[in-house]
C-alpha cells in the first residue's frame, strides 16, 4: 500500500505548481487553471487525511465534495469575468490589463 506521505507530497507539489503558475502565467485562463490546481491540492490533502486517520469519519471526504462544488462555481464566475474583460478590452493577457495602477 502506498504510504500517506506520498499523497501529501503530491498535494504539496500540486500546491506549489499552482502558486507558481498564478505568479508566472500571463494568460487569465492559465491563472484560472493554476487556481484549480491549488484547490485540488487541498482536496488531495483532505481525502488523504480522511482515509488515513485513526478514526475515519468521512469529514474530509465531505469537505472535498464541497470544495469541488465551490471550485466549479468559482470557475464559472472566473470565466464570465474573463469573457467580460475580453468584450471590453479585446485581450485576456493580464499584463495588458493595466488601466489602473498605483
Amino acid at each position: 500500500m502506498i504510504p500517506e506521505s506520498h499523497f501529501l507530497i503530491l498535494g504539496a507539489a500540486l500546491f506549489s505548481i499552482g502558486v507558481f503558475g498564478v505568479f508566472t502565467r500571463r494568460n487569465a485562463i492559465g491563472i484560472l487553471m493554476s487556481i484549480e490546481l491549488i484547490l485540488n491540492a487541498a482536496n488531495i490533502n483532505l481525502i488523504t487525511f480522511s482515509k488515513f486517520s485513526a478514526s475515519p469519519d468521512g469529514l474530509g471526504q465531505i469537505f472535498a465534495l464541497f470544495v469541488i462544488a465551490i471550485a466549479a462555481a468559482s470557475a464559472v464566475v472566473g470565466l464570465c469575468l474573463v469573457i467580460s474583460i475580453y468584450r471590453n478590452s479585446k485581450t485576456i493577457l493580464v499584463n495588458k490589463i493595466n488601466l489602473m495602477k498605483w
Binding site: 501529501l8 498535494g11 500546491f15 499552482g18 502558486v19 498564478v22 487569465a28 491563472i31 484560472l32 487556481i35 491549488i38 484547490l39 491540492a41 487541498a42 482536496n43 490533502n45 483532505l46 488523504t48 487525511f49 480522511s50 486517520s53 485513526a54 478514526s55 469519519d57 469529514l59 474530509g60 465531505i62 469537505f63 464541497f66 470544495v67 465551490i70 462555481a73 468559482s74 464566475v77 472566473g78 464570465c80 469575468l81 474573463v82 467580460s84 474583460i85 468584450r87 471590453n88 478590452s89 493580464v94 490589463i97 488601466l99 489602473m100 495602477k101 498605483w102
Partner: protein, 475 residues
Amino acid sequence: MSLIESIRFITPEIILLAGAIIILMFSLFVSNKNVLGVFALSAIVAASLYLPQSQKVEPVLFFNMLTNDSFSLFFKEIILFITGIIILISIGYEELKEKYIGEFFFLLLNGAIAMLLAVSSNNLLMIYLSIEMLSLISYILVAFLKNNTLSSEAALKYFLFGALSTGIMLYGISLVYGLFGTTDLAMISKAVSAGQINNLVSLILLVLILAGLCFKCSLVPFHMWAPDVYQGAPTAVTAFLSVGPKAVGFAVLLRIFSNNFFHLYINWVTLVMLISIFTMTIGNVIAISQTNIKRMLAYSSIAQAGYMLIGFVVGTAGGIEGVLYYIFAYTLMNLGAFGCVILVSNYLKSDAIEDYAGLYKKDPVTSFMLSIFLLSLTGVPPLAGFWGKFLVFNAAIQSKFILLAVVGVINSIVAAYYYMRIIKFMYLEEPKAKEIGPKSVPLQIALAIVTAGVLIAGLYVTPFLNWVKYSQSFF
C-alpha cells in the same frame, strides 16, 4: 439541539433569502428602483427584528456548525445595518441601470446572508463555505457595470487575488484537519491548549489561514487589489466592499485567533504586529499622492484596517473591545464618506479630488457631512473615529506595545494631511463652473442616518462601550 429546533436561530437568513428570491421574480415585471429598493429594505428590517437573542447557555446549532453568541450578534447587527444603508445608497446611485436593479438587490441580500453565516460559523468548513460565497457574490457585484472596462478589469483583478488567497487558506485548513482530525473550532481549541502541536507547524498553519483573511481585510501583503477594485467598481459596491467583507474578515480573524488559537498567541503575535505596522504605513504613505477620491479612500481604508489590527495584536479584553468599537465607527464613517462621493459624482460626473474645489459654495450640506466623515476618519474628537483610535492605542500602551502605539499615532498624523486636503479643496479653493443637479432623497436619508451615528457614537459613547463590552464577553 436538534436540526429542526436550530432552524429558528437562522430566521433572519431565511427571511433575507425569501426576500431575495421574491425580488428576483418581481424584477421581471417591475423594474422601478424605488419599489424594489423599499422591498429589499423591508426584508432587512424584518430580518433585524427576528435576530435571535443571545442565550445564557449557548445552544449547539446544526451539529455545532453555527453558534449564537453575543459576539456573532454584534456583527449581525452591524451587517444588517450596512446592507440597509447600501440599499438606500444604491437607490440613489445613477450609474446602476433600472433594468438590472433586481439582480443587484438579489446579490446584495445574498451577500448579507453569506456575511451573517460567516460571523456565526464555528467550524472551519462553514467559515470556508460562507467566505467563498461572499467572495463569489462580491466578484459579480464589482463587475456589475457590464460595458465599463474599469469595472470588468477591477473584477478580474479581484477574482484572481481572491481565488488565490482563499485557495491558500483552504490548503491551510486541510492541514489543520490533518493535524487535529476535525474542523470544529472548539475541538481544535481543546487540542491546541493540550499542547499537541509544535511551534513550526503551527506557524505554517497560521500563515496559510492568515493569507485568506488578510485578503478579506485588505491587509499587507494582500492589499494590492483594494485600490484598483475600489476605483473600478460601481461606487455603491465599493462602499459595501470597504465595510462588509472587512467586518466579516475581522470577525473570523478574532474568532479563530483571539479565541480558539489563543494558546498559540506567542507564535502569531510578532507576525501580526509586523503586518499591522506595514499596513498602516503603506496605506497612509501611498494615499498622500492620490488624485482620485475613491482610490484615496481605498488606501485610507487599508490604513484603517492596520489601526484595527493593533487591538487584535494586543489581544486583551480592552484590545478586542477597541477593535469592535473601531469596526462599528469605521462602518459609519466609511459608508458616509462613500455616500457623499456618490452624491457628488452624481452631479459632477467625476471622482477627481480637484473637482471638489469650492464645493462648499454650491452644496454646503454635503461638504459639511463629508468633512465630518473625513475628520472622524482622521480621529478628531469628539467624533466616533476618535474613540476607536483612543481605545485601540490605550490598550496597546497598557499592554506595553509601545512601538505599535507610537507607529499608530505617527500614522494618524500623516493621515490627517490627506484627509484635510480634501476639506481644504472644498472650503478654501475657488469653485469651478458646474451646476449641481437634483439630489436623491434615499441617499440623503442614508447620509443623515450615518452622520447622526457618527455624532452620537462620538458624543454619547457610554452605551456603545457597554454594547461592545457585552459583545466581547464570550471570549
